[in-house]
């Protein structure tokens, strides 16, 4: 390992260092403010390092592929973690409680996500996913009081363990078929192995994809999503929805591309079924939800259905990988905005995450309500928001590839989705409850600033996307 490889690894190294420093700090002086500052500094340095490392983009050992694409997503994930950190400050800082471990877990989970994003080998894939996941279980269960977080964490833990087992079995089968564990190696060997033993290759890839699909919570691997979303503390839900799912999708895309899985028709058929089911079932189940976090859980199922459409249309052309970049960026920003508002408005009160609790928010807190409105419009794919440009990409790709079946599911799914996103906006604009509900408390500048920043980013991506498209094209 030479110096330039170390420089390429700088984001990972800084994150590891932050984790070590946090551990040492906890053993010397327990102070959660200090822990918060250390984590924030660590994330900021990592953010800088992702830019710095671009000049040294290269494969680092057989395990990690550091290139501008993975560095961009690393930056995105770290940004999401930074937002989570800002949101967590309120939720996790009741006086007299010791919560420094939470920050350590957060940093470790981000480290896992970055490794996952840069992975080019089954081992680093598993390593990153487990590091991210294990830290996440603890983060979900972190609030000591209340049974819901605990229930959510156990549910997530047990099911994740199953998914990991399936994933590992998939690795084993692929190894048996090809004798390779790196993505590229599998890609080189799988085609010949497929001719001699198609069942082994298909079963292996199917199991790997199932394991990843569980983390993405696409139908039929979605059962855990609403409970975990609802039970987890709101900032952690936001983290799960953005960092965890985003990183896994990047890994899936990388595996799919490098292992050249797009040449196997049975696999594409299976992915199409998963995508259609996710778009339809996710949106349908979201219709009747009364809890906004559960609603967003189902909505995220649908959004990963749309993203799978992009994956299916990936045939090595440039536009499709741009589409993944754009869609994930739009999705992550929009989710962050939504969860930032929920964290601010509802806090950790289980009753306040009901949609009914958002009634009249426009007249109580304009900034938060505007941010949530923009987020909902972006999710629904209304022009001028990032979500629209993202959907624009998906629809163009589906049309160019003549995937009319997927396209019709997408249109029907989006049509259903408008209803529940509008429901939230309508609820916020209700005027009848203004007098009964007082002001939600003192101004919180950091929350307002976060909401405004995310709103501005969503609107900018939607109304002036050219700079970002150029940037994404160069990745």
């Amino acid at each position: 390992m030479n110096a330039s490889q170390m420089q390429a690894l700088l984001p990972v190294l800084i994150l590891s260092l932050t984790a070590v420093v946090l551990m040492i700090q906890a053993s010397i002086k327990r102070d959660q403010k200090l822990a918060w500052i250390i984590s924030a500094l660590g994330f900021l340095c990592t953010l800088w390092a992702t830019g710095y490392a671009r000049e040294f983009a290269q494969p680092v050992t057989i395990l990690l592929q550091v290139d501008s694409w993975s560095l961009f997503f690393s930056a995105l994930v770290v940004f999401a973690a930074l937002v989570t950190l800002v949101l967590s400050r309120k939720s996790f800082s009741p006086e007299g409680e010791r919560k420094e471990e939470y920050y350590l877990l957060l940093v470790l989970s981000v480290l896992g996500a970055v490794v996952l994003i840069q992975s080019s080998h089954m081992v680093s894939l598993l390593l990153g996913m487990e590091l991210m996941g294990v830290a996440l279980y603890a983060m979900i269960a972190f609030p000591e009081k209340g049974l819901l977080p605990l229930e959510a964490a156990i549910k997530y833990l047990v099911l994740s363990a199953c998914a990991s087992a399936i994933l590992l079995f998939g690795f084993a089968l692929l190894y048996a078929a090809t004798g390779q564990l790196s993505y590229v190696g599998i890609g080189q060997q799988a085609a010949t192995a497929y001719l001699s033993n198609p069942l082994l290759v298909m079963a292996g890839t199917a199991m790997v994809i199932s394991g990843l699909a569980f983390k993405l919570s696409v139908v039929p691997f979605h059962m855990w999503t609403p409970d975990v979303y609802q039970g987890a503390p709101t900032p952690v839900t936001g983290f799960l929805a953005t960092v965890s799912k985003g990183a896994v999708f990047v890994a899936l895309t990388r595996f799919y591309m490098d292992a050249q899985l797009y040449q196997y028709q049975p696999l594409i058929t299976a992915l199409s079924i998963i995508a259609v089911a996710s778009m339809l079932i996710g949106n349908l189940l979201a219709l009747r939800q009364e809890d906004i976090k559960r609603l967003l859980a189902y909505s995220s199922i649908a959004h990963f259905g749309y993203l799978l459409v992009v994956l299916i249309t990936l045939t090595g052309t440039g536009m499709a990988s741009d589409a993944v970049t754009f869609y994930l960026a739009a999705y992550i920003l929009t989710s962050l905005a939504a969860f930032a508002v929920i964290a601010r408005v509802a806090g950790e009160d289980q009753h306040k995450t009901q949609i009914a609790a958002f009634e009249g928010l426009f007249w109580r807190d304009k900034i938060q309500a505007t941010a949530l409105t923009v987020a909902m419009l972006s999710f629904a794919g209304i022009p001028l928001t990032a979500g629209f440009m993202a959907k624009f990409y998906v629809v163009s790709l589906a049309i160019q590839g003549s995937y009319w079946f997927l396209l019709s599911a997408l249109v029907i799914g989006s049509a259903i989705a408008i209803y529940y996103y509008l429901r939230i906006i309508f609820s916020m604009s209700k005027t009848s409850v203004i007098d009964s509900v007082g002001d939600i408390g003192v101004q919180d500048y950091s929350a307002n600033l976060t909401a405004l920043l995310l709103t501005a980013l969503i609107l900018m991506l939607g109304s002036w996307p050219q700079p970002f498209i150029t940037f994404a094209g160069g990745l």
Binding site: W363, L377, A380, I382, P383, L384, F392, V395, S396, I399, Q400, L407, V411, S414, A415, I418, Y419, L422, R423, I425, F426, S429, T431, P465, Q466, I469, T470, G473
Partner: protein, 504 residues
């Protein structure tokens, strides 16, 4: 820059109205009125420097330089998306209609809206900005953007200031338009993809896409995507069900904008996009569209007859009148098309005025139920006389704009399909029936002497006078409007004739 400024003035004016609420409850409405007037004056001034001859020249649909105004600049070059605006006679008429009715709507909201006036006027102005964008955008992406974005302020107007069942109505309105818009988006993207595979160029420009060669089967489906989006907005039978709810629940100014302007975007879209982009498919589809139009005329009229709610009756009458527009467009000859354009303008004024009267009644009586009205002429003679004027205008009395429009449409339609003309004429008869019923039930009959009602004041009379003059002008001397519309109509007819290789 002119056309962009028209839109920008309204957007910035919206923010100004929003902020101005801090300085007083009554400031926003004045700001809004000033902004609309400024826009109108700005448009008139810039037109006055334009040589008159140009207005009368027939523009080539596919040559932007022959249009009255054309503006284009890069926006998202990665997809060939431009900020491209252009205006011909048709757009110009619609822009004028929008701004005049915008001023009317501000006047309608003068006392009607009591809470959060700043936000209301802002939404009103933003809706107008979106509508102007729809009438001027010549880049299909930009057009779609305006088409969708104008829904949001309109949604808020219904959802926040609407009547008792506003949530349901606002939701229904938004979902109908959004879902049909999604179909249009798919059609637009597919059209662009076909053009791209033909020529290798990514472009959303109307002028480039006009001559796209599309396989017959594909063209039919793409045309259908556009058609459904526009017919939902029009609204044409059987996609009209959102309209009675939205109209009835919207605040008065919202109804004025909705009926006067928003519905016309559907008609405009049909004339501008659905037919010229897919001439061959449209000709094949025309018989079905004509039947839908005729069905709308009769069905809307019959339903209007059965209503007891003042606003609902007018809403259904709009369905009937917009059926005429659909007939005019798909008859696709010079007479019928000019009639359709005329109908768009005349219906805009007459319905906007009727909704304003309905709003005034609701403000005074706190009901829209006609069974609780009666003899109002005695209580409010001025309002009664005004209502009488617009009711007879709406039923198509010769001498007023609506008559000219419907007569031209029927005349044009007669050349295409006689029996359909007969059916559509039924709409005129039933129209007379329900319009007079409206008048009888609410303004005539035994007056309730205990009622203390204030008659129309000078602000209302002034607003009504504007629309009366417009309708009388359209009825007695329709030539200027026809002159402005004719070159556009001829250009479109020539274009579609050369494309399909046959004259209709």
């Amino acid at each position: 820059m002119l056309m962009i400024n028209l839109i920008l003035i309204l957007i910035v004016g919206g923010f100004a109205a929003l902020i101005s609420e801090r300085f007083g409850q009554n400031i926003p409405r004045k700001v809004a009125l000033a902004v609309v007037m400024l826009d109108l004056v700005y448009l008139l001034l810039s037109l006055s420097v334009m040589p008159e001859l140009e207005l009368l020249q027939a523009p080539q649909p596919s040559d932007p330089q022959s249009w009255l105004m054309h503006y284009s600049r890069e926006w998202i070059p990665a997809f060939g998306i431009k900020i491209e605006l252009a205006v011909d006679g048709l757009s110009l008429l619609m822009v004028f209609l929008t701004l005049i009715l915008g001023a009317v709507a501000v006047s309608a909201s003068w006392t009607d809206v009591q809470v959060r006036r700043g936000f209301f006027e802002a939404n009103l102005l933003w809706t107008l900005a979106g509508v102007l964008g729809v009438f001027m955008a010549m880049d299909l992406f930009l057009f779609f953007l305006f088409w969708e974005v104008m829904l949001i302020p309109m949604y808020f107007m219904i959802a926040i200031w609407g009547h008792e069942n506003r949530g349901y109505a606002a939701m229904k309105f938004f979902i109908f338009t959004q879902v049909s818009g999604l179909l249009m988006l798919v059609s637009i993207l597919a059209l662009v993809a076909v053009h791209q595979s033909n020529t290798g160029v990514w472009t959303f420009s109307y002028f480039d896409l006009l001559n796209t060669q599309i396989a017959e089967q594909t063209a039919f489906w793409l045309m259908l995507g556009f058609f459904i989006a526009f017919v939902v907005k029009l609204p044409g039978f059987p996609f009209h069900t959102w309209l009675p709810d939205a109209h009835t629940q919207a605040p008065t100014a919202g109804s004025v904008i909705l009926a006067g302007v928003l519905l016309k975007t559907g008609a405009y879209g049909l004339i501008r996009f659905a037919v010229p982009l897919f001439p061959q498919a449209s000709i094949e589809f025309a018989p079905i569209a004509l039947w839908l139009g005729a069905a709308g005329v009769v069905y809307g009229a019959v339903l209007a007859f059965g209503q007891t709610d003042f606003k609902r009756l007018i809403a259904y009458s709009s369905v009937s009148h917009m059926g005429f527009v659909l007939l005019g467009v798909y008859a696709w000859n010079a007479l019928a098309l000019q009639g359709a354009v005329m109908q768009m303008v005349a219906h805009g004024f007459s319905t906007a005025a009727l909704f304003m009267i309905a709003g005034s009644l609701q403000e005074r009586l706190h009901t829209r139920d006609m069974r609780e009205m009666g003899g109002l002429w005695q209580n409010m003679p001025r309002m009664g006389a005004v209502a009488m004027f617009f009711v007879v205008a709406s039923l198509g009395l010769p001498g007023l704009g609506n008559f000219v429009a419907e007569f031209l449409i029927l005349l044009g339609l007669f050349q295409v399909d006689r029996w359909l003309t007969v059916i559509a004429s039924l709409g005129l008869i039933t129209g007379a029936a329900y319009s007079l019923l409206l008048m009888q039930r609410s303004f005539q009959g035994e007056p309730d002497e205990t009622r203390q009602l204030t008659d129309f004041g000078s602000r209302e009379m002034l607003t009504m006078a504007v629309m009366m003059i417009a309708l009388i002008g359209l009825g007695l001397y329709p030539q200027p409007v026809l002159d402005i519309a004719r070159p556009v109509v001829e250009g479109l007819l020539n274009f579609s004739a050369t494309v399909t290789g046959e004259l209709l």
